[in-house]
């Protein structure tokens, strides 16, 4: 940079500093006038710009310089606000993980249902035994998660909130205090999630424990409305009111295979599902990963598999002719 340009910039800075002192409001729009602003090149003459901000006589106190904002609160309040913000983000992350966990649990529940159904068919377990109760719990958790997700997505928190309340009670009863607390956070539409999260964060900051003890959970559960009975019917009713297809909220009830295929070696493949949810093929109670949009595709896949298997077996001995 040549000296001429440097001198020009210095002169411009001087002029700019003279023209826009802190009191100048002309030439600004209404929004700009509301913000107390110092010139960009403002330099206090008698007080150090850094290291003395607690001085009430600091000329930069309360003014915006550039895009930085001077805090009006004390350092302690600022630190607490930072901690709260940090904890809110952590709670949000926990909730996201919990919802993911519920999604996974929903997938596992179909396997549990299959196992339970097989056990009942074999006569090892009677209908209504503990397995059935577990399944209903899993169904409720799954329905709660789905209801919450769908309700939240549609802007109808009541559907999800009620199911979250149900979930919170179930989890509190099972001793899952962490899950119950998170579920309870979704159970109070009037109490926004961030404010509850801030409260939780404050509790952790004050007590050192992130989640409340059993007594607190029990007290929280008292305030949660009783779960609907049966839950699925209630959810269907709410869904109808909310204009949501109840089939998208409720877990699919699968009783019998739509079609069965017997392989050459005697093993049996079963096709489960419907036109809405799609079809899947199961072997020995295990679902194959591919889902088919209609029954014809599933049928074709099994036939291709049979042919390929047959061809693979014939690979051992080829015809010379």
């Amino acid at each position: 940079m040549s000296n001429d340009i440097k001198q020009m910039l210095e002169r411009l800075a001087t002029v700019e500093g003279r023209l826009t002192p802190s009191g100048v409001k002309h030439g600004l729009n209404s929004q700009q006038r509301e913000v107390p602003q110092l010139p960009a090149l403002f330099k206090p003459k008698h007080i150090r710009a850094l290291g003395s901000r607690t001085d009430p006589a600091h000329p930069m106190d309360g003014y915006m310089v550039g895009d930085s904002v001077q805090s009006r609160g004390t350092a302690l309040e600022e630190a607490i606000a930072e901690i709260e913000e940090d904890m809110v983000s952590k709670v949000k992350k926990d909730l996201t993980q919990y919802l993911d966990h519920l999604e996974k649990k929903g997938r596992v529940s179909s396997e549990l249902k299959n196992k339970a159904r097989d056990a009942v068919e074999r006569g090892e377990v009677e209908e209504g035994d503990e397995v059935e109760e577990d399944l209903s719990t899993v169904d409720k958790v799954l329905a709660g998660a789905k209801g919450f997700g769908k309700g939240f997505a549609k802007g109808i928190p009541a559907v999800g909130a009620a199911y979250q309340a149900n979930d919170a009670i179930n989890r509190a009863a099972l001793g899952d205090t962490r899950g119950a607390m998170i579920a309870a956070a979704g159970a109070y539409p009037p109490l926004s999630f961030p404010s509850l999260a801030v409260q939780v964060a404050r509790d952790k900051h004050n007590t050192g424990s992130f989640f409340p003890d059993d007594e607190q959970i029990a007290n929280a559960a008292k305030g949660i409305p009783a779960p609907p009975s049966p839950a699925e019917l209630q959810a269907a009713e709410w869904s109808k009111k909310a204009g949501i297809n109840p089939n998208t909220l409720l877990p699919v009830k699968e009783n019998a295979p739509v079609r069965t295929y017997t392989m050459e070696n005697g093993t049996c493949l079963e096709c489960y599902g419907d036109d809405q949810a799609g079809f899947e093929i199961r072997h020995a109670g295990r679902s194959l990963p591919t889902r088919f949009s209609n029954l014809d595709h599933a049928d074709m896949a099994v036939k291709i598999f049979q042919k390929r298997r047959e061809a693979n077996q014939n690979q051992d001995y080829l015809e010379e002719k």
Partner: protein, 146 residues
């Protein structure tokens, strides 16, 4: 008795030779070159034993069978009309090789009983050759250390 055993040995050896030669022609897969050569060693060795066996039958005063029909009647080695995978070829040849060892042991016992030391000596050489192929076939089939 020894001549009858030698006729069975001749027909079985012929079937064994044809099978090894067919495997030599039709083997496929990543080990083609190695197995192609290995089967060639086997069929060439088996073929080399056909003529002396027939001549020992003649030496004992019998006529040697020389038709596929008779060989089918006499042989203890089943033919293979299909083309097996390479490993199945090895397994099949290994099983047939064990059958050949049994036949040869029977022939050796007969030759010794009838005091035909020359034939017994020839049979002993064949036992040694098939014993060597047994080891090689088993080594090909072993997968534990592969």
């Amino acid at each position: 008795m020894l001549a009858d055993n030698l006729k069975i040995l001749l027909a079985s050896n012929f079937a064994y030779y044809i099978k090894a030669h067919g495997f030599h022609w039709n083997v496929e897969g990543p080990d083609f070159g190695e197995l192609h050569e290995f089967f060639q060693n086997i069929y060439e060795d088996a073929y080399s034993a056909i003529d002396p066996t027939a001549e020992y039958i003649r030496y004992l005063g019998e006529y040697a069978p020389a038709s596929f029909e008779r060989y089918v009647e006499l042989t203890q080695i089943a033919g293979q009309t299909k083309i097996p995978r390479a490993r199945l070829m090895l397994e099949e040849l290994h099983a047939n090789n064990d059958q050949m060892l049994e036949i040869l042991n029977g022939c050796f016992a007969s030759a010794t009983d009838e005091n035909e030391q020359g034939i017994a000596n020839f049979i002993a050489e064949r036992l040694s050759a098939h014993g060597k192929y047994r080891w090689q076939l088993l080594s090909y089939l072993k997968t534990e250390r592969a």
